[in-house]
Symmetry: D2
């Protein structure tokens, strides 16, 4: 009885014995908001720029429209308008113009998950920030993606589908730490601190156009252990050619997307989704200079992006 009482006391005091571990401040300081982007320095950029050998560029973002599947209830629409020019009216005598309005979620298609996107089950995010404090309705007061400096780094794409000898990995199929190690070895592209790591599963090339519904309902991806492995390597960002990076459905349903928690919340490492890795892999461009300058909307959680790879 005393023990039961003790447990209930703990519970009553909000100490959920089954829940997330207590939060540890970031190694970049208790006020830090950008996490692993701190690893980017002029020196690291200069070194990564040496990877430019041919000058060929790659657009790592896909084109999105109102038909692009997205995590429900995400959706978007675009409105092209001509203010003041109704029925051929002119606002200036020498020109005409179009403008456009985007109404939609920022987590559609190729996207940057900021550090304010996923937290633990207690609502605690990167660097012990509590959603109750920073997740303001009109924009995050902390951890917004507008804070993220240019992510310019060595990029490595790991061809997981090629390693497995398939055009694309199947929905629900995941790759392990051993797989990731083997591909690094095979490609001769060891992952290093400060890298941006992209996984090529073949999923988007195979399914997005041909069966968008299936594409968006599940995906191959990393196991939870891979996320931890990459975090231990101190990478800057991890992405994949899938809408969610983590394998879906998750092997352990109650730990779905746990890789996001490990990367974003526990390690301040960015997640990049629906990266167009196919052209890189087809060119065997496994190493490249990765450049991301995301549009800076104050307090944004995510952002539609189109990183550039140069090799």
């Amino acid at each position: 009885m005393r023990q039961l009482c003790s447990l209930l006391v703990l519970w009553g005091l909000g100490v959920n014995v089954l829940a997330a571990p207590p939060c540890a401040p970031s190694s970049w300081g208790a006020e830090d908001e950008i996490g692993a982007a701190n690893l980017i320095t002029p020196e690291s950029v200069l070194a990564a720029s040496q990877l430019i050998k041919t000058g060929k560029t790659y657009s790592l973002g896909i084109t999105i429209d109102s038909n692009t599947p997205a995590y429900p209830p995400r959706q978007m629409s675009l409105q092209v308008v001509q203010p003041g020019q109704q029925q051929g009216r002119r606002v200036m005598p020498n020109l005409t113009y179009n403008d456009d309005i985007y109404i939609g979620w920022l987590g559609i298609g190729s996207q940057l998950d900021g550090l304010g996107h996923v937290g633990d089950s207690d609502g605690i995010y990167y660097n012990c920030n509590d959603a109750k404090d920073f997740a303001q309705f009109t924009g995050l007061s902390k951890l917004g993606t507008h804070n993220v400096p240019p992510i310019v780094a060595r990029g490595v794409v790991l061809d997981m589908a090629g390693y497995k000898g398939v055009p694309y990995m199947k929905a629900g199929e995941y790759f392990t730490v051993d797989d990731v190690k083997a591909v690094q070895e095979k490609q001769q592209t060891p992952i290093r601190e400060g890298d941006v790591v992209l996984f090529h599963t073949g999923w988007t090339d195979a399914m997005l156009a041909s069966d968008p519904k299936v594409w968006g309902s599940a995906a191959p991806g990393q196991s939870e252990e891979v996320a931890q492995y990459l975090a231990d390597l101190n990478v800057v960002a991890v992405g994949a050619d899938t809408w969610g990076l983590d394998v879906s459905p998750a092997p352990v349903p109650e730990r779905a997307s746990q890789g996001h928690v490990i990367l974003l919340k526990e390690n301040g490492i960015y997640v990049l989704e629906t990266m167009n890795t196919g052209p890189l892999v087809r060119d065997q461009a496994f190493e490249f200079l990765f450049i991301l300058g995301q549009a800076k909307v104050r307090g944004a959680v995510q952002m539609i992006i189109n990183p550039v790879a140069i090799r």
Copy 2:
């Protein structure tokens, strides 16, 4: 009377003798949709990448929010939401998350003007495209910014304010071709084919935070002749640290923003607005590698951007 009749006949037939000259197809072919971005090649990228000397990066986009002044009636709002998590509900046992919805115009703050943004007074845009044909309400069917490949090029910032010996140029003050030539000479940064040219007027650094209303109501900028001069040099894009690049108000009111017509419509050259050139100028980083990967929304007219400069 016969002459009057002739004139009226011409008028009746839609030949407006006062209007835009007949359209000439693009030198990149009648089907081309990307204009001067055709000038970007692996060779040009490789050459430009040699400008990376220190690895220091610059975020050329500013942070926008609902208070950022924009060309009326442009406006925006951000909504941070937690679907399925109302009143502490959990959608997954192991995590919580935030998402966000952007409702707003794509021509706010730092922006890319696509080739479908400005046309002549007859509604004819780059490469003889008629707005009646391509300016579909749900997205441009031609000239959308999603078509634009990565703009990776030699970037040159021209410090017009420094040349004039002022912290910032005044609203309505414009710089001429001679000014632009003189600054190139002074900085030893000749403009070349394929460059991205940015003008630093000091306007945004001086006024955006201190007096946003004034900032958005007028601006210093290029004269119409400068636009033509740059077009003749075959640059890829022209930008400035102002919301409109062209001087405002225009010296000749009925030719307001005519530089946009010259660049976008007549030459397929992109316009970049509200570029954060101050840090480059303060570092005297007059030459750099310019990288822009804009988010790809199908049929978008413009796009909020954050190009990266590396020197």
Copy 3:
């Protein structure tokens, strides 16, 4: 030749000999913005209120959601949110609350077409108002539906399907002036000045739920002559249980929705769409008190409505 010249001169002067007739000011004055709503007086309301015999009420609006078909590209979404209450946070100690954001067109489902909705081929609307002058992007500066006073009038529903002996009229099938006269006679409900006239075709009851795509792609409806006939009777509004009132497709394609032009533009008579007339017809409630108080958004073109019938 002289004649050709004359014609071209006329043409050149903007006198399109094939186009809309010159505009005549409204009989309610050149400044009038509410058209046939002027017919509503305390006397007419008092008389119509005598139609209340049982106190039974009818909701004439249907429920709309994101699946409701609408004239492209019209669409809508609703967002239910809890500002400040993320992860169980409280904004007040004693309560919790939900709010909602509507993003969508006002012409979806049951709707009021205001006098600024449809004009002639020259862009001229009710009372000679030119869209170039009043169709401001942020709200009509004239003819907005916020101007419309309460429409309280005798309502008459004409059971066209019952008259034809079918559960519902077919897409593309129209009723004529003779049909309308016959139904008035059959029902003993003569249409009078100041009435709101609703047509029951059975289309929405039969098709909206069972085949929404077909429902929205065509419809039975009034012929053009019926619109003129009703206008000559000086009614206040004309509606139907279809999305467009006019038969669709139109018998003469180049006069599609011409009934809208006749009613709205030429006569200042309101159009009511997707009225839920089924319950009235099933009760043989052919006469009733009609009450519409539309939400008043300044400068709105249309409005989602839910008129009330009382008999």
Copy 4:
């Protein structure tokens, strides 16, 4: 110690001894979603319709636009557009048209608060509905305002300002049960079961146009006891010519807007805000037929409204 343990045990079990009382199912049944609207019957409507004596109508909704103050972060914008008609293009040869897009909150200006708008501090709403269960992001799955049948009832406006001998009551000033009783007596308009009760404080007439900021930051209104008094009288809806009905700021800050909880949550009685009561009071039209048919958007929490009064 044992007692402390007991308390903590209770707390641990989620029994917050300081919080809302346990929920009692509605007297209209555990499945009921419309609350006091159940009181409206053909008999009650027929009786109320006898109040029509002159046929004069009143629009009880105000006109809203993007400048109308609203409870933060509520806001709205209207976009008037002409799809397919860019630069004078025609979609049909015989007509032109305008459409409009509303982007905004439904709780702006004159509004209906549905039963899903305010719940107690535990997130429990009318009829023991838990927000966790019904407050779906894309629309309430219960208690949506689309469920509300036409509210046709005897309307009574109580001129609280007139009773107090002032043109308008001051911000933070509240009226008591005694005041309400006295005004009923003075006006000879006893409140009865099934009524819609509106309070005229003069606040909106005095302040909305002249000082919108002040208008929206505080208001006179009902005390908490008045809400309970009206609930005990079994009214259908309670409104006022203020944005929040309850006095603001509240005399007891931690019970702000408690009248909403009493009416909506505990009694299923609707709240009507920013009702344009001035014209009624000026006409001494203290009794009238009240008719509300709100636009029916599935799952909406609130709705912009414009009820009609007829006397």
